[in-house]
Each structure stands twice: as structure tokens, then as C-alpha cells.
Symmetry: C2
Subunit: 128 residues, 2 copies
Amino acid sequence: MRKTKQKEFVLSLLQKRYDHPTAQDIQDQALQEGVKIGRASIYRILSDMVSAGQVRKLLTKDNVAHYDFYRPNHVHIVCKNCGKIFDLPSEKIFLQDFKQNFGGFEIEEQEVELFGLCKECKTKNASI
Amino acid sequence: MRKTKQKEFVLSLLQKRYDHPTAQDIQDQALQEGVKIGRASIYRILSDMVSAGQVRKLLTKDNVAHYDFYRPNHVHIVCKNCGKIFDLPSEKIFLQDFKQNFGGFEIEEQEVELFGLCKECKTKNASI
DNA sequence: ATATTATTGAGATTAAGTCTCAATAAAAAA
DNA sequence: TTTTTTATTGAGACTTAATCTCAATAATAT
């Protein structure tokens, strides 16, 4: 496993961003910052990072994969209207621990997603 | 909003199945049972049912949408190896209620997904 | 410095999902 | 019941996210 500037760029970008970019977003930003990464590489790199547990792949209702640097006990709030994904700071919530055994199925990870209308969509819908 | 045999078939199929079929799976089964439903209709019907809250759209790591009849307080256990989605019977778990307000974001729905290795994949991997 | 081989990326390919619009059929009106 | 209205269906074209291939490149070992 070799260290390449493409891999370094993708990981550091995801560490810095909190807005769940798509593969396309990542490629665009790389190009903007003068780092050339091909489409095949973007997907290969992201997929490897997901397998390694460094990155989380989020599948939203727009049917495009979004990527998120892995941060434990990290809850997503998804707007049912605009589809945007927000992070709920872990200190704002007490999170139940589901890591137990259910009929031979040993739980290693848990993910909690909450759905509702974000502030913006709520006020927009109210005024219609 | 009209009652059609296509809509009736899709909803009753999802009520009966617990294995989270894809749009393709649903179309295949319809054809098998002699009900002809076109691709456009399958997607239109499913999408409407998701909007109406009758059906849940699950996005898995195979990047294909799976559909599930809506059953409240229903936890999914996803195998990290084979990707299969299992249901955790609600009586097997005490589920935390997240429906509260977080900074203007009013939570209406919650979804808990648990990840690990299913029985089958665990024994398979152990023997390698 | 040279050899080895993992990684990259252009471009072809696949396939899930969407869109269009004429034909169909469900419900309303006569 | 028959006719009219209009929501719904579906064949097929289209879009596009994601995958695959393989020669070129560059990271590490020798």
C-alpha cells in the first residue's frame, strides 16, 4: 500500500470538510487546488477508505453517494425536504449503545439518523 | 388518486415480504405472478409510496435502492460483508426516543442501523 | 541508479433511475 | 349503461453515477 498525493489529498479534504461531499465534489475541489485526480482513482480511493473504516459512505435520497470522515458517535440529521445532511454534535445527545449480540449477529457499529425539516425548509413551507 | 392493480400489487407485495426487495425484484415478481408493470410505473409508484410514508427507501452499499413496507420502531441490522439487511424485532430492543428539537430542527422520524457480521459470514471468514 | 510493481487515469462500458408522450383504464358525468 | 374526462401506465429514449480495462506513471525496494 503506497502513499500517493491523491490519497493524501482526499483524506485531508474529508478531514477538513463537514458537509458530506460527493465523489464529484471531491474531484472538483482537487482540480481547483491544482491536484489532478481521475474519476476511477477517486472512486477507488474512497472505496478503500470506506473498507478501512476511515471514511463513511452515506447514501441519501438523491441516490448519490456522499462521503464523510469517520467520527465516532456522530449522528446525522437529514432534512426530509431539501435532503441536506447536518451533523448533530455528540455533546448534544446521549447516545444509546447498541453494541450487543442479537442471535449470532455481533454488532460492531451503529448509525443513528434523524429526519425532519431543517430551519430553512420549515419557514419556507410555513409561508406557502 | 386512482386505485390501480399495479399500485395494489406493489403495496401488498411489500406488506408480505420482509427481505427488502429492489425495484427490479418487485417488477420480476409481478411478472412471475402475471401482473405486468413497466419500469417507469414501478419507480413512480414506489416513489409516491415513500412520499406518503407507507414505504421506506433503503440505500445500501451496493448503491441500489431497496424498499421496505413501513413498520415503526423497526431496526435494521446490516451485514458488513454480504450487505444483507435483516430486521431486528422491536421486542428484542429498547429503542431510545430521539424525537426532540435540536436547534430549530424538529425531529419527526428516526432510523437506527446496526452493522456487523451475520452468522453466515462470520463462520465463513473464520474458516479462511 | 535500476528494477519492481502498486497506483493512476483516459475512455469505454454498465446499469439504476428518469423522462416523454401516446395509449389505456379508472372514476365521474350524462 | 354509455360517454366523457383525466389520472395512470409503459415502451423506449435518455441521463449519469459508478465500474472496468489496461497502458502509462510513479512510489518503494534492491
